[in-house]
Symmetry: none
Subunit: 423 residues, 2 copies
């Protein structure tokens, strides 16, 4: 099997100032393409150390992917290290990347400085994949077997996360055109509303009956629920996909409306698919989630077709004045209550004239009140068939509670729209 | 300087299923104690690979800290690898950890199984620091100079994050009692409003004049701007901190109100610091940013003290009906315009009665209209001294544009509040 090592370069990860999330993404993408990641490595901005570590990784792997150290400033020294490692005799200008440098800086109204031009200069030992998202080129160094005992390729990617992640598809395509990879077939469904361990118990018999070549992985995520992924290594990809689909059809029977999507998806993506082209619209009223639900809804391209808007009513007066929640409901039932959640959903639905509305009121921090403990959220969803509320309690910190509250609210909304569409 | 390598063991990180956050924390703690972390490494559950990789790290570092692979199940093989690496002749029971195994399982109402007892069995070549948070012991292997050419110590920690992090203080104390450590001093300021390369050019003379033992790093981020970090290795920590503060004071003169914070911070955190305890309040009106600004503001603990709420007015009717933006302003100036941004900010300020308001209207997607191109945002900020607007244009995808729009808006707001406080 083709193997890879992923190396991040830069002091900021080594000293613990930022957490490396690039490697995780790159690893998943390489894995999906049939490449086994053997090592992840972080090293600092030290020339000799970079050269030595990359040499070692190239000795032990077919492919090495580096991120970082390609910026225009003096602490970025990856390029010089790669120049030495590859025995380059000098730098040459890459016209495609130079064009991109000019285009990007001009579009930002910036002057092109000498340091920017140097971004498009690369060692004469590499090929370039033009980076369309930034000024630093993606460099490809190919080593024949005489160098490390086997053919090896090094890909150097920028460290800025969206540039690194944006480059991965190009890197994978390049690897595919140079290496004979085994097939890996994956199939995924999304499940929301059950913890990983409870889900595992519920589907135990189904899992035990899977054929031995089918591997099941649980990938839990606060915002999207549990992703269940089946994988088959080798064999006929189409046939494997069909076999996996059969198994997942059985699973959907078992799990009912907890399954919200067939592929990699999000709750807000599923809601978008349900609403787009239907003429139905959506609004939101948020208290404890503070804009996160609206933010998630509007990350879906085309959301403006169905999302009218939202009110974040952090202060009680905004709930009363803007959303029309009766003051005595807040007084009598508590600010975190079923009645307030319902009134908020109905209020923003009335205010915006939307078909559906979703609302949250809860305690995201480490405190609650005499009625509801910390970590409690009441969700309200309002639609043509009426209003529903649901209560959830989570024991996380503020940030994670906000995420789980938002996901729970989107899931209630998703279930209401789905059930309306079935009628 | 005493050097360290941090190694995580386990397939789940390598295949990208989880992101390694332990290493980042451990690195910060080691760094604060005066240990330079040279390498972070992730390797899979493979016996030979673990032995080979750890041997390599011990050859190149004074200290190796491993996490993971100590659980009771079959895929946990770190202990066997460490046994081989250290030339152990067998396992011995550690009474202190055995007591802990019994205590923890009993407190959970669980029976102590054979696999649990084996947790307290350790290679006869190690010392044990009792893990009070879990059943797996913290193992310490000390190697004299005859083995790797220098004295070296390996600490094996559990992978479960709260157990790993809980063990770090004990590990640092042990290192301090065995090594003479130098100081490492870092200092950071946050700059918003200039691209990394332009900033580097602006401060070039200042950077060139830094003493040779002071290292500068640029850490750009879409949401927080550029973080500038000075580091000094060795010497007197207090004195170095004072020397760095002097340099940063010069830099602040140079950069003016682009510097928004002294330490690791965010724009919304800086705004929180300005508003908290001031009696002043805040609201937001968002169009293209769709709730992201409210979300960012409310990620700051204690935001409820000053943040009253926000309106996401995605549809024009919501701008008109809820925020009171005059329909003929939208008609006459365009939906993405200075006048609409100002009217939105003023509208939500009126609606909520807040001291300050921030508003956005823009084209986050790949299209604009005849007045403003794709990637344009108009930001409005309203306060006691009046209303200001500013225009920005970015050429990113939808998600990045939303982030940059939000950060630009928060920065305009931050500047307005700061300038009010100076009067």
């Amino acid at each position: 099997m083709t193997t890879a090592s992923i190396c991040t370069i830069g002091d900021e990860i080594l000293i613990g100032q930022i957490v490396d999330t690039n490697s995780s993404y790159i690893s998943r993408e390489l894995g999906a393409a049939g490449i086994r990641v053997n090592t992840m490595l972080s090293i600092g901005d030290d020339h000799d150390r970079i050269v030595q570590a990359l040499r070692n990784e190239l000795e032990h792997n077919d492919i090495v992917v580096t991120t970082g150290g390609l910026g225009p400033t003096k602490d970025d020294i990856t390029k010089a290290a790669l120049s030495e490692l590859s025995g380059s005799k000098g730098y040459v200008e890459h016209p495609g990347q130079m064009e991109m440098v000019f285009r990007i800086l001009h579009s930002r109204g910036l002057e092109v400085l000498d340091t920017n031009r140097q971004q498009a200069m690369v060692p004469d030992t590499c090929e370039v994949i033009v980076n369309r998202l930034g000024t630093a080129p993606i460099m490809v160094f190919r080593f024949d077997a005489s160098r490390f005992g086997h053919p090896a390729t090094l890909y150097s990617l920028p460290g800025v996360p969206h540039e690194a992640l944006g480059a991965v598809a190009d890197v994978v395509a390049d690897i595919k055109s140079h290496y004979k990879l085994e097939s890996i077939t994956h199939s995924t469904i999304m499940v929301y509303g059950m913890a990983e361990s409870a889900l595992a118990k519920r589907i135990e018999a189904w899992e035990d009956a899977l054929p031995s070549d089918m591997h099941l992985a649980y990938l839990p995520n606060q915002l999207t629920g549990v992703r269940l992924r089946l994988s088959v290594y080798g064999g006929d990809g189409k046939e494997n996909a069909a076999r996996m689909e059969e198994r997942f059809a059985e699973l959907k029977e078992l799990l009912g409306d907890m399954v919200y999507s067939d592929g990699d998806d999000t709750l807000q993506g599923a809601i978008g698919r349900l609403l787009r082209g239907s003429g139905r619209t959506l609004s939101a009223a948020e208290s404890c989630t503070g804009g996160e639900i609206a933010h998630l809804i509007t990350t879906v391209p085309g959301a403006s077709e169905y999302f009218l808007g939202s009110v974040t009513s952090y202060a009680p007066e905004v709930k009363i004045k803007v959303l029309g929640v009766p003051a005595d409901t807040i007084e009598g039932c508590g600010i975190v209550s079923s009645r307030v959640a319902a009134a908020m959903a109905e209020g923003v639905r009335r205010l915006t004239g939307s078909t559906y509305a979703v609302a949250t009121t809860g305690w995201a921090d480490a405190y609650g009140d005499e009625r509801e403990p910390a970590g409690t959220v009441w969700v309200g969803v309002a639609g043509p068939a009426g209003t529903k509320t649901a209560r959830f309690n989570y024991k996380n910190d503020r940030k994670r509670n906000i995420e789980r509250f938002s996901a729970s609210a989107l899931n209630e909304l998703r279930k209401m729209i789905e059930s309306d569409l079935k009628v």
